[in-house]
Symmetry: C2
Subunit: 78 residues, 2 copies
């Protein structure tokens, strides 16, 4: 496993959130998570659990496998 999955996951969440015009606050509300936690995940300072990954994918309206595919693409440097 190369690269940092936690950092890559954070980058992808931030990118998708912004592409959907969502604030951290509105994503936090949608995913029933804490805004500060969203910020820490996006900055690669906190890693999500399986359930949190599902909640974020749900809130961003994409499948978990699609979300992780984008993380894998970042890790692969694409």
């Amino acid at each position: 496993m190369n690269g940092d999955p936690i950092k890559s996951f954070g980058l992808v969440i931030k990118e998708i959130r912004k592409s959907q015009g969502l604030s951290q606050e509105s994503l936090a509300t949608e995913a029933n998570l804490d805004r500060a936690f969203i910020s820490q995940v996006e900055n690669g300072h906190k890693q999500p659990s399986l359930l949190t990954i599902f909640r974020l994918a749900d809130a961003l309206k994409l499948s978990v496998s699609e979300l992780l595919k984008q993380v894998e693409a970042v890790l692969a440097g694409n």
Copy 2:
């Protein structure tokens, strides 16, 4: 989100591990995780973090997105 992602994830890990003829012990060694933890994940009693998901996928020689796609299939009742 319907169904229980944690239980479904455990079922999928167990199924793939067995289909590859691996014991919990050998998967734990390959993924650099504790055997008891593998057992708890497979039984849906513990949920993995993002990094653990990557380690398990690596050890089972499939992509994280493919692993999560199988979890989503179980959740969808397919």
